[in-house]
């Protein structure tokens, strides 16, 4: 195995964790991680040595998720009733009732699941993975200012959800 592949594999656990929060289902997380690595190996010539490999891999994973998994969700929604449903949520905003889905053990985890994808992702990358804002901006393909704004709004939304859980 080459040095590049070895370096990629050092980020496997972080990527799998991110995939679990994106897809919520272990089999889908497996698929997403595998697809991410396949693309990374196939397009390794596009990676510029000296830049952040971790951010590059997370960017591939998020793009794969947004293009492939979201498309699959929309196709499923259309196929079920034969009519395009334009109200299908872009991201997983509601808790998944699937028994195979990972269970939420804490209010914090449950609240994270309720966040829109772009809020959930910035919190995971910046607060959980500890990525600098510049790397998060690269993964999200947006300016650093937008990342800061999303982190602020994500935390506000999260605080609101946690308050609701405390009241229940």
């Amino acid at each position: 195995m080459g040095e590049f592949s070895q370096d990629c594999l050092t980020h496997l656990d972080a990527l799998y964790n991110f995939a679990m929060y994106l897809t919520r289902k272990p089999p889908e997380a497996d698929d997403l991680v595998q697809e991410t690595y396949l693309r990374a190996f196939r397009f390794s010539h596009r990676f510029q040595p000296g830049t952040h490999l971790r951010a590059w891999l997370f960017q591939i994973m998020r793009n794969t998720f947004l293009t492939f998994y979201r498309l699959r969700e929309r196709e499923t929604a259309i196929a079920e009733d034969g009519v395009p449903d334009w109200d299908v949520p872009m991201f997983h905003d509601a808790p998944d009732e699937d028994s195979r889905a990972m269970e939420a053990h804490t209010d914090l985890e449950r609240a994270m699941r309720r966040l829109p994808e772009e809020f959930r992702t910035v919190l995971l990358l910046a607060e959980v993975e500890g990525m600098p804002l510049e790397e998060v901006a690269r993964v999200m393909a947006c300016p650093v200012g937008t990342v800061k704004s999303r982190i602020f709004r994500a935390k506000e939304r999260l605080r609101g959800l946690l308050r609701d859980y405390e009241k229940q």
């Binding site: 799998y16 272990p26 190996f41 804490t106």
Partner: protein, 225 residues
């Protein structure tokens, strides 16, 4: 709850999921370089592709000669027609212009016999899927001689067995083909293949057979129309 507190809770309380060992193994396996192709594979595939291109595009456009068996087949048909006339006579002993019209061949001039060769009949023939005309003669020694003109565009006269024959104004070079106990002169006039068949097959008969060629070839002018 402050931003710092919430950040600490996210980093400390949120469960982290670890990649299953099987997934790690699958990804590690996919990262291993695939075995290189055998060295002979690329040149072999290239050669096969070139051969396929040759077969598909080049060979049909290459100048080619008609296979010898096509000439032999046509000569065989002419000899068979001559043999049939020997056995049963001409089917339609009509006059030359009518036979020529039915054959789709215009005879600008035709050899109608002389002191050596007596004209017997003319008739349209259908040989090797082609319409043509046959003129039948008998020489003073009783040998039947058949002249056949038939369309054969693109069919060359074989280079082998060419014989030089002095004509009044030039030298002709028809091919002499001996087949089935008969001798046949084969030459081309435009897109028409012309034949003279006789049983004068021996070497001693060759001068007389050449003479028949001079008489018939010189006095007969078939044209396809």
């Amino acid at each position: 709850m402050s931003d710092e507190t919430l950040g600490r809770r996210l980093a400390g309380e949120l469960p982290r999921y670890t990649a299953p060992a099987a997934l790690r193994q699958r990804i590690a396996a996919s990262a291993r370089p695939r075995p290189a192709r055998p060295a002979w594979l690329a040149p072999t595939l290239s050669a096969l592709a070139t051969a396929a291109l040759l077969i598909l595009f080049v060979i049909p456009r290459m100048p080619h000669t008609t296979p010898a068996d096509a000439v032999n087949r046509l000569v065989g048909a002419v000899v068979a027609e001559h043999t049939r006339v020997l056995l049963w006579g001409a089917r339609r002993p009509d006059i030359v212009p009518l036979a020529a019209e039915e054959a789709g061949i215009r005879l600008a001039r035709a050899f109608v016999g002389d002191e050596r060769l007596r004209f017997l009949a003319a008739e349209p023939v259908y040989l090797d899927w082609r319409r043509g005309i046959a003129l039948h003669y008998r020489d003073v020694e009783g040998h039947d001689v058949t002249y056949v003109a038939i369309p054969a565009p693109g069919m060359p006269v074989p280079d082998r067995n060419r014989v030089d024959i002095q004509m009044p104004d030039r030298v002709a070079r028809p091919a002499l083909i001996r087949s089935g106990g008969f001798a046949t002169w084969f030459w081309k006039q435009g897109d028409l293949a012309c034949f003279i068949v006789s049983d004068r097959v021996a070497e001693s008969d060759l001068p007389a057979f050449k003479e028949y060629f001079v008489r018939m070839r010189g006095a007969t002018e078939p044209q396809a129309f």
